[in-house]
């Protein structure tokens, strides 16, 4: 294993694979906060050069958290298909990059090698990719999954309707829900971030949204993003659960900070399949975001891109229906400005797709960050071209509960219009029935939430 190189005559020597991975990252304030980023621009390129010549086998044998110490490492390693891995283990990371980008390489080819990749390999190749590489590579990979609707179908762009309310008022939630539907939003999921995480509130919120979509025969799924153990309790009480949500991290230690582990996820997954009301077979919904491991001190001195890739490795184990990065939510100490958020959004989407999951993105920012609505519109256009599975839809992009901004109902509708993308097929048929959409275009009824009154 070669950890040494020369650049402009100067020698750079790295102490291990983890350090190479960290220093090969594009610049991120979170890696600087962790004290692990490259110290100069030249050192960054030296690290990329060393990384490009490492083999996939060397990356598998050097996970950033040892298997003995971490169940996430064990899950990822255990899910690798050995036959496929044997075929590619001698490739360098440079060769993997070029294989992905080659014109002859199809989505089917990438889906196959995906099963032989560990998360460290996925992260490594992302670090060698330019932004346009990340877009091109991801655009080849279509991953579909089915809960009540089929997500990831070619030519579609789906959306999560996020009807959040500062006090979880059912009337308030339904008001945003109605409005979103008339813009063609909600085919990925109608997903509420609750203020009140209690069992009673979870049951009440689930029932309120479920009753509405049952009454209006909306082909989609509902979800309350309470802690997964609360959703499991609601399910046991007979509440209408389609998919089960949880925020996840890339190490066992950081998942502990989220109050979860493999056992809890296994139990929820099995119960959801057995007792949940969705058609399935994909019923899990995960959210992630670069920097969460450092924020709970579970990053093991590894960089935030590699830790993020490990989230996707963990997610893959549960054949999820939805996974999205909440890319600008964490704040400027991890992603400093719009440039870093856009880079992270493209990395996350690419890494998710290469891992084999139907990756979406909450393209967003907080008010203490050097970013604004124009920046996340840019990111959404870039990601739509990369084949991003879904975005969030929030009234005017202003989330009145979480106090951050993301993509709006209008944004999703405009992305579909500009890039000639459609809602998911079952959902579009329903929009036509309701007179909201005709031949892929919104009608004059779109934007009037009171079409859903009897």
């Amino acid at each position: 294993m070669i950890l040494k190189t020369r650049l402009f005559g100067q020698t750079y020597c790295f102490k291990n694979v983890k350090e190479v991975l960290a220093k090969a990252n594009e610049i991120k304030s979170g890696d600087m906060l962790a004290g692990i980023s490259a110290e100069t621009a030249q050192e960054r390129i030296a690290a990329k050069h060393v990384l490009s010549q490492l083999t996939l086998e060397e990356l598998r044998l050097n996970p950033v958290v040892p298997l003995e110490e971490d169940e996430v490492s064990r899950i990822i390693d255990g899910d690798i298909n050995e036959a496929i891995y044997q075929d590619i283990k001698n490739w360098s990371v440079a060769e993997l990059r070029e294989f992905i980008l080659r014109t002859e390489t199809t989505g089917a080819d990438l889906s196959r090698i995906s099963r032989g990749l560990s998360s460290e390999m996925v992260a490594a190749v992302a670090k060698l990719m330019s932004n346009l590489d990340l877009i091109l590579g991801a655009s080849k990979i279509r991953i579909t999954a089915h809960c009540n609707t089929t997500i990831g179908v070619s030519g579609t762009l789906a959306s999560r309707l996020q009807p959040n309310h500062p006090t979880d008022s059912t009337e308030g939630i339904l008001a945003s829900l109605r409005e979103g539907l008339t813009y063609g939003i909600g085919d990925a999921v109608i997903g509420l971030n609750p203020v009140d995480d209690s069992l009673d509130a979870t049951v009440r919120n689930l029932s309120g949204m479920y009753n509405f979509i049952t009454e209006w025969k909306v082909p989609t799924q509902v979800c309350v993003l309470a802690h997964i153990t609360t959703q499991v309790k609601a399910l046991r009480k007979g509440a209408p659960v389609h998919c089960l949500f949880q925020s996840i991290a890339g190490s066992e230690k950081s998942n502990e900070a989220f109050g979860i582990n493999k056992e809890i996820l296994d139990e929820a997954y099995e119960l959801g399949l057995k007792e949940g009301r969705a058609t399935g077979p994909n019923i899990m919904y995960f959210e992630t975001g670069q920097g969460s491991e450092l924020s709970s001190d579970g990053h093991y001195e590894a960089d935030q891109v590699t830790m993020e890739a490990r989230c996707y490795g963990l997610a893959r184990h549960y054949k999820p229906f939805l996974v999205n990065t909440v890319v600008g939510f964490i704040g400027p100490e991890y992603l400093y400005d719009s440039r870093q958020v856009i880079r992270a959004g493209l990395e996350d989407h690419f890494m998710g797709k290469l891992t084999g999951i139907p990756m979406g993105c909450d393209s967003c920012y907080t008010n203490h960050m050097k970013a604004d609505q124009n920046d996340i519109e840019n990111l959404a256009v870039l990601l739509s071209n990369a084949g991003c599975t879904y975005f969030m839809g929030v009234p005017m992009g202003d989330d009145v509960m979480l106090n951050y901004q993301c993509t709006s109902f209008h944004d999703v509708a405009a992305l579909r219009e500009v890039l000639r993308l459609r809602p998911l097929p079952e959902f579009e048929a329903w929009l036509e029935e309701q007179g909201i959409m005709r031949n892929g275009k919104l009608t004059s009824s779109a934007g009037d939430a009171t079409i859903f009154t009897r």
């Binding site: 304030s29 600087m32 906060l33 009807p163 959040n164 309310h165 500062p166 008022s169 009337e171 308030g172 939630i173 339904l174 008001a175 945003s176 109605r178 409005e179 813009y183 704040g331 400027p332 100490e333 400093y336 907080t366 008010n367 203490h368 604004d372 609505q373 929030v394 009234p395 005017m396 992009g397 202003d398 009145v400 106090n403 951050y404 901004q405 709006s408 209008h410 509708a413 405009a414 579909r416 219009e417 919104l442 779109a446 934007g447 009037d448 939430a449 009171t450 079409i451 009154t453």
Partner: protein, 297 residues
């Protein structure tokens, strides 16, 4: 009930005092109108202030199926619904209002609390280990420490060993501090004096995060400390302030050992009411010698 009565009483007392004071001192209201001279010959008429529109009453959908129900829905949520569209894009005034609200939020984060404010309230001025706003935003670890000069200042200027140390910090909203503290602080001091709690020298920490109170605790060894700090602004309000209270503030204390009262602003808990309420919380913390998860009020 008795507690509520007590709060009402303090609020009244303080409001009276403030009104009296205002007659002489007039600490100018924060939002002073800035007049800009217009070139001669231009139209004297001024455009309406778009930020004065109550969005929850403003329905832009031209011919809704059910206008009454729409107005009810808008009343039920502060979310920006009923906004209509130009094709798939928002209408111009909706877009501009969104940008105006975001501008307010950004200014709240990036602007500093004014020197006059610190002087007006006789606060000892300290600074965290951050050198500037940028470092404050990217290095939460430094925002939790005091600069060496400030440690020195603290030793010289502030009284040690008080029952309660009051700390004000900009945090993520200078606007929240400048808007709420003028009403909150007098109510808090009045309430504390009513319940017989003595306070140390109030301090202000520029570029401060919550845990900088631990550092100040180490230096001054008060029995308890309260920190008033600006919350991260949303688009709905950039004025929200939080109070963090700690019994025996010291290095290495856990986040769960702090008691938090958040959402202090005119649309949430009004500042004078919050000040009165906080004085009772302080009293209880001192009596029970605990805060955070070990304490319920």
């Amino acid at each position: 009930m008795a507690l509520e009565d007590n709060i009402k009483l303090i609020v009244e007392q303080v409001l009276n005092q403030i009104n009296e004071k205002n007659k002489e001192l007039v600490p100018a209201p924060v939002q002073q109108e800035k007049k800009t001279a217009c070139p001669a010959g231009t139209d004297e008429t001024i455009l309406d202030d778009i930020t004065q529109v109550d969005l929850q009453k403003y329905l832009q959908v031209p011919n809704p199926v059910n206008g009454d129900f729409y107005r009810e829905m808008k009343k039920a949520t502060p979310a920006r619904i009923g906004v209509w569209r130009a094709g798939t894009r928002p209408l111009t005034d909706t877009l501009l209002r969104f940008r105006a609200d975001h501008a307010t939020a950004q200014d709240a984060v990036l602007n500093d609390v004014s020197e006059e404010f610190i002087q007006d309230f006789d606060l000892v001025k300290l600074q965290s280990a951050c050198r500037d706003k940028d470092e404050f935003l990217t290095r939460p670890d430094l925002g939790r420490k005091l600069s060496p000069e400030s440690v020195e200042t603290l030793g010289k200027m502030a009284k040690a060993g008080a029952e309660l140390q009051i700390i004000i910090a900009d945090g993520l909203s200078s606007t929240a501090v400048e808007t709420n503290v003028p009403d909150l602080l007098p109510a808090l001091l009045q309430g504390l004096s009513n319940v017989g709690v003595s306070v140390g020298t109030p301090v202000f920490v520029k570029y401060g995060r919550v845990a900088v109170m631990d550092c100040i605790g180490e230096e001054l060894k008060p029995q308890a400390a309260i920190m008033l700090i600006g919350e991260r602004p949303g688009l709905g309000t950039a004025e929200s302030l939080s109070a963090y209270l700690a019994y025996n503030p010291r290095a290495g204390m856990l986040e769960s050992e702090r008691t938090v009262v958040s959402n202090i602003h005119k649309g949430g808990t009004p500042p004078s009411e919050a000040g009165a309420h906080l004085s009772s919380v302080v009293k209880a913390i001192l009596e029970r010698k605990a805060s955070g998860v070990n304490f319920s009020f």
